[in-house]
Symmetry: C2
Subunit: 369 residues, 2 copies
């Protein structure tokens, strides 16, 4: 469907500036990998990741440091529909926890040597008395509206959320030189928002995408499924373009992450998808900007069924499968050492020549007798 | 079958000293995990790993640092049967490469902050002019005999290899305080040895276990399968106990790793299995000392079919599945940050109380209308 003509020029320009990774550098990295002291292909997925980094960075000796984990937080009106096991206050409480270093993502980021940046995209009960320097503010509103009653946000709010993500990508890559940017999030109710977006954008049934999120019981799961069905039925007649879906059933932090993904790809960073919500953001980025997809990688597949649906729609094979369902960027954090190792191998391994190691026998050896 | 009565007292004593992990500490760690600021169970496999470390270390706040990757190298007479894509000289050449830091395992270990120790268990063409301090020597012989013609080694050599592994575990845990010990290896032909051991110990067919190793062609694969079949047919009539299998179709470095695994478990370190050969060593350790198994974890499953056969026999679910087939401890290295993160979460995350974060609603929330 054609896009309605109100999309800001800043967004259209950023999308147009994204270049697909350069396959010629992937081929050169493959040549280099063939000379490294190991049997050809014996490091499997790590070699693929190395070639992807090479094609993004236009070098056969890529790097994956420094890495950033962005945690975008916002609240969701749909939380009022009894779709989460947690009260809405938890979003702001967890933002405070991120800032004081007590959340899972802080512990995981410290382990893998990644930096964490926390952004308030519209938390309903924002934490008070927090350090302005630690918490970046890009509030699009005090949480979205309940999309069972009205659009979650206006189109102009959707544009602002994506623009904020694009702007943060530019600033962070310029100031921090990040080569890897992971999409993390926090928002009570956002697994229902993400499931609705994934169902709408992939034309999947609510049954195929909706899971228990942070852990709703059977009644909560039934309410989530009903909410997704009703939301799609309510808004589908009004849809003119992709942005109408994003505004009507989206979330501020999810659209912010989609903007961040496009902006990171524009800046030749590798974009690392985390869980259900993060992968919904990746799916939006791919629909807005197909050229960005060559710069995206999926860190893991978790227990939410919609996560796999979105990964399949993106054609991405996850690196890890550890039964995670936390979000925050936790699975992405765990993939970071694997990404970094993939780059390290290309830069730091010896070649057969340099190490004086014999290559494979040219012909199949014969048995002695 | 009963064990022949010549097993050294040192081995029997070490096996008897291994204690199974303490399930009470696993339960206490689970209680602690339930108070951490995340939805219950939302970090999946990482929580299981944290509980395993807790039960091994008898604490609810375990650590996984420092970590050691042991690379045991030896040669195999079966390499003469045309079962490898590489000449036997490569084992010693790669030992030199490990010592100069140019191999994959060096690059991966540096990334994950693990130490590498290289041990010559019987390399046919050992590197000359290497630093005695860097290369530990436990040569059981100049490589094994071709087990298509005679036993790979004597029983007394098999005992010596296991004893050396036990001794190294004691020394390394005493001097280095390692909480995680990964089993890595190098040896041209050792995927055929490992496949034979796995087929013999699990009563599996050669077709089910034999793969291409470092990359033999179809003719080489056929020779490997035939070699495994012939080896088992040749030696089976002479088998009196497990040690007869280990001596007749084993490898010095594989038996050394089995000893290292038992010794590491005795010293309450987590034992990390890597690929096919490493997992064969884990299988031997489990048969010699079932109590050690609670201290063992599988880092990954690779492309060799026998790897999965051995993991299934051990009842282990691998952490990673990245299409690896290198060995050296490479897959184990990649799992180390995940092990470490699992321990970090138990020590360093905030609790709901300490962070002022609300827990889940006690009852399923009701929709507003």
């Amino acid at each position: 469907m054609d896009e309605v003509g109100d999309v800001p020029a800043s967004i259209l320009r950023a999308i147009a500036e994204v270049e697909a990774p350069d396959a010629a550098w992937s081929a050169r990295a493959a040549e280099r990998q063939a000379r490294l002291t190991m049997p050809p292909g014996s490091l499997g997925r790590l070699l693929e990741i190395g070639r992807q980094l090479a094609s993004i960075q236009r070098t056969d000796q890529p790097v994956a440091d420094p890495a950033l984990i962005a945690v975008f937080a916002a609240d969701h009106g749909i939380a009022m529909a009894g779709v989460s096991a947690y009260p809405q206050e938890v979003t702001g409480q967890m933002v405070r926890n991120f800032l004081s270093g007590g959340a899972a993502i802080n512990v995981l980021a410290a382990r893998v040597g990644a930096q964490v940046r926390v952004v308030d995209f519209g938390v309903a009960f924002p934490p008070e008395d927090v350090d302005d320097l630690a918490l970046h503010i890009e509030r699009i509103g005090p949480g979205t509206a309940n999309f069972l009653e009205r659009p979650a946000m206006s189109r102009s709010q959707a544009f602002r959320a994506v623009e904020a993500g694009l702007r943060l990508a530019d600033r962070w890559t310029r100031d921090g030189g990040f080569r890897v940017i992971a999409l993390g999030e926090m928002g009570i109710g956002n697994s229902t928002t993400a499931s609705t977006l994934i169902a709408a954008l992939t034309d999947s049934s609510p049954e195929a995408v909706v899971g228990r999120g942070t852990g709703v019981d059977d009644a909560g799961l039934a309410r989530k499924r009903a909410a997704v069905s009703r939301a799609i039925a309510l808004h589908a007649p009004e849809i003119r373009d992709l942005w109408d879906w994003l505004a009507r059933v989206g979330g501020f932090e999810i659209l912010g992450l989609a903007g961040l993904a496009i902006g990171a790809a524009k800046n030749r960073s590798l974009v690392v998808l985390d869980g259900l919500i993060s992968t919904a953001a990746g799916l939006i980025a791919a629909r807005l900007c197909p050229a960005a997809m060559g710069s995206v990688i999926a860190a893991h597949v978790g227990t939410e069924p919609g996560h796999r649906v979105a990964l399949d729609a993106l054609g991405l094979e996850p690196i890890l499968d550890l039964g995670l369902r936390l979000g925050e960027g936790s699975g992405a954090a765990l993939a970071i050492p694997i990404l970094a190792a993939s780059a390290d191998l290309l830069r730091n391994m010896a070649t057969f020549d340099s190490a004086g190691v014999s290559g494979p026998s040219l012909t199949s050896p014969s048995p002695p007798g």
